[in-house]
């Protein structure tokens, strides 16, 4: 679970302005370990997951964001943005790893390096 803000001192990388992510939408960040999807929900929360659906590796960043979940564009699995886990009928079938992310002064900061998943 990633309910709490991470306490480890990550190497935080500024990846852009939060307003470059549309509400109820997402953007991608590419990294050496694969694409990362950064989501912004209708109530302005920001989440980051590795951009691979646990089902068939669909790019979650391209899905429809609703509540705190995203519907994968390939087969409509619904993934909880906070945990990266599928919900509903597909619960318990793997997960899209979460990436620590936070907002500071309107900038999106993504954990990077050996402790985060971003590197």
């Amino acid at each position: 679970m990633n309910a709490c803000a991470p306490t480890i001192d990550y190497d935080w990388r500024d990846v852009g302005d939060v307003n470059d992510i549309p509400r109820r939408g997402a953007r991608r960040v590419t990294s050496a370990r694969g694409d990362i999807a950064i989501f912004r929900t209708g109530d302005d929360k920001v989440f980051a997951l590795m951009d691979r659906c646990p089902h068939k590796a669909g790019p979650l960043s391209q899905g429809i964001v609703h509540g705190h979940a995203v519907a994968c564009p390939l087969h409509n699995w619904t993934i909880d943005l906070a945990t990266g886990e599928p919900t509903g009928a597909d619960a318990g079938k793997g997960c899209a790893p979460t990436v620590p992310v936070r907002i500071e002064d309107g900038r999106v900061l993504l954990a990077h390096g050996p402790d985060g998943h971003g590197g």
């Binding site: 679970m1 309910a3 190497d11 990388r13 500024d14 990846v15 852009g16 302005d17 307003n19 470059d20 992510i21 549309p22 509400r23 109820r24 939408g25 953007r27 991608r28 960040v29 590419t30 990294s31 050496a32 694409d35 990362i36 950064i38 929900t41 209708g42 109530d43 302005d44 929360k45 068939k56 590796a57 669909g58 790019p59 391209q62 899905g63 429809i64 964001v65 609703h66 509540g67 705190h68 519907a71 564009p73 390939l74 409509n76 619904t78 909880d80 906070a82 945990t83 999106v108 993504l110 990077h112 390096g113 050996p114 971003g118 590197g119």
Partner: protein, 819 residues
Amino acid sequence: MAREKLVVVGNGMAGCRAVQEVLKREPDRYDITIFGAEPRVNYDRIMLSPVLAGEKSFDDIVINDAGWYRRHGITFHSGVAVTEIDRDARVVRGAGGVEAPYDRVILAMGSDPIRLPLPGVDLAGVVTFRDLDDVEAMIAAAKPGARAVVIGGGLLGIEAAYGLARRGMAATVVHLMDVLMERQLDASASFLLARALVDRGVETVLGANSQEILGENGRVSGLLLKDGRTLPCDILVMAVGIRPNAALARAAGLEVNRGVVVDDAMRTSDPLILAVGECAEHRGQCYGLVAPIWEMCQAVGDTLTDRDGAYRGSALSTRLKVSGVDVFSAGKFGGGEGCEDIVFRDAARGVYKRVVIEDGKVAGAVLFGEAADGAWYFDLMRKGEDVTDIRETLIFGQTITEGLRGLDPNAAVAAMPDEAEICGCNGVSKGTISAAILEKGLASLDAVRGATKASASCGSCTLLVEKLLSLNLGAGFQAETGPKPVCKCTHHGHAHVRSQILAESLKSIPAVMQALAWTTPDGCSSCRPALNYYLLCAWPGDYRDDAQSRFVNERVHANIQKDGTYSVVPRMWGGLTSAAELRAIADVVDKFAIPTVKCTGGQRIDLLGVKKEDLPAVWRDLNAAGMVSGHAYGKALRTVKTCVGTDWCRFGTQDSTGLGVKIEKALWGSWTPAKVKLGVSGCPRNCAEATCKDIGVICVDSGYEIHIGGAAGLHIKGTEVLGKVATEAETLEIIAAITQLYREEGWYLERIWKWMERVGLERIRAAIMDDPEGRAALYRRFLHAQSFSQIDPWAERAADSGPNDFTPMAVLPAPVPAE
């Protein structure tokens, strides 16, 4: 013993309240000196909004008058700004050589309004909204008929705009976000707020980026937005936020982050100096609301009188001071992981309530239109009380809930008083419903709706009405199943949603969700695309398409493939192409190393395996050769497949290719409930396979046979003949009219054959073939809609270089491995 010297920097709400807290505990301990940069006694800054609105005067909002300073022997340096805190000499120095030695200091400098660094920010008539001077400047400019623009749709900006509107001005709030007061409200509440503001003379422009403040003769004349719009104005108010005023503390060498850093005892990094209010930063948090400031002041009072007291941060709640607009917000109003929403909407009264539950406790709430229970929810939230046993009735508020605590849901409904209002829309009480059930022998939800109107409008009380039926009838009542709901977010079916959009002039997704009592805050991946389509169809040219409510293919105008790449299909009108087009396609394939090129069943060329970031460049190249999007990805007109007809074929009876091209030119760009494919065959041999298309034309010697409702996918079905006409012009009008009828009646994702099965071929024939006036009207509506939709999305996307879907937001380099 000589008294200790306490110097207070700041004569605002926090500074004076902190002094009061000290005096309350030990009235004779300190000699107190207060510096105030504003030449006024201590007043209630929060109440400046009602002063601006003319609902209160300055005298009404004074907290401590001159007598208060006198009674407590306070030295008050009014209008003197502090210039230095000399920690070595323990002296506070002010402008004009004023000096005050200290033993202890309270810093309460408050905050400064942020002025956006826009061109024109120094023009006369550009003000912030912070102190009485600002208010007086605004009142001076507020001549009836004058225009005001307020940048910032937060609490303060809205109150400023409301105040100016009350003074007779036409006020417009310009907000960067899509949601007003986004730190306090969700999209639904924001929508209702914007509507309520319109009634009070305040317009809102959301998602608007300010570019430049325009001026004439040194005075503000308007605001230019990045999208090119200009909003003329006589006064411009900036209410975009506040910045803790910490410069003095920084200069004195105290630890400063965003604000002056304090511990739980409100001490700064120098234990002799405390900070309180908006200038302070406690546990990483700066506060701009009054309730936490009062709590901080208590801790200051304790610390300065050597008592054990500590401030541990505040839970926040907000109310908006706009007369007649009841808004409350607290805590995690937006929900989150592990949270559950209870949503109540009363469309008729414009009420929206959302209570967020986490681990069986209230974690937050947002209330609009009826906020009396805000304090109660806030109290439950702060106490962390378990509310599992009152969950069923929680949303109805304290009065109903407290009376029913400890009962199971059925018993709770049974125990509700007869006068309790069940249906808010139509004002029907429990007693009225129960009486109707018993006296008139009602046995179904529809019967109750018919007899009492309860649950007949927004339907949010349906569950309660059903419980009343089962309580009164026992086993005799069976909850019925109505039309299949659009999705789990609502109990309404597609037909009802579509008719309500028109009947109630609902023009946005939040408007539909509010009016029809959606049970989720922003829908799901099933209902949002459906609503987006229904609104687009109902209000052509008026409704703003919501990209985030479209499936990815329609957002990026290409078809997502299993590996996350896309396929691109240029339009080939009627299946015709040319050497130039084929050459351009070949060049694109080479240039972008597109791995697969394939012919589709609809006589097009499909380029498969295009990387998302290449899409705009691929389109640009295809556009340059005269090709446009083929919409092979959309719930839209896909293709018109043709045979060669009289041009070449020895059996052809009409120009089927030419007709196909004309149909495609007329229909392209239109959005439909599901995809639409057509075929035009030049003779009954039917080489274009028109009789398994959504709409087909078979040319015969004497004219054109129009077919409808074929399918050749998961279901296989031959078309039915709708009718026969003599001319191309009639054929075109009929096909456009069928398309429009389907656009208006079809349910989202329902193909034409399914729609036909549902409404019946005869009904469609009557509307299209037997009713020339009706048909002409459908045709006109179709043309009107097309006037807004025949824009090549590729050209539009390729030309846009702003932040977009196609390029990654950032590229992270591989981390350097640790040594």
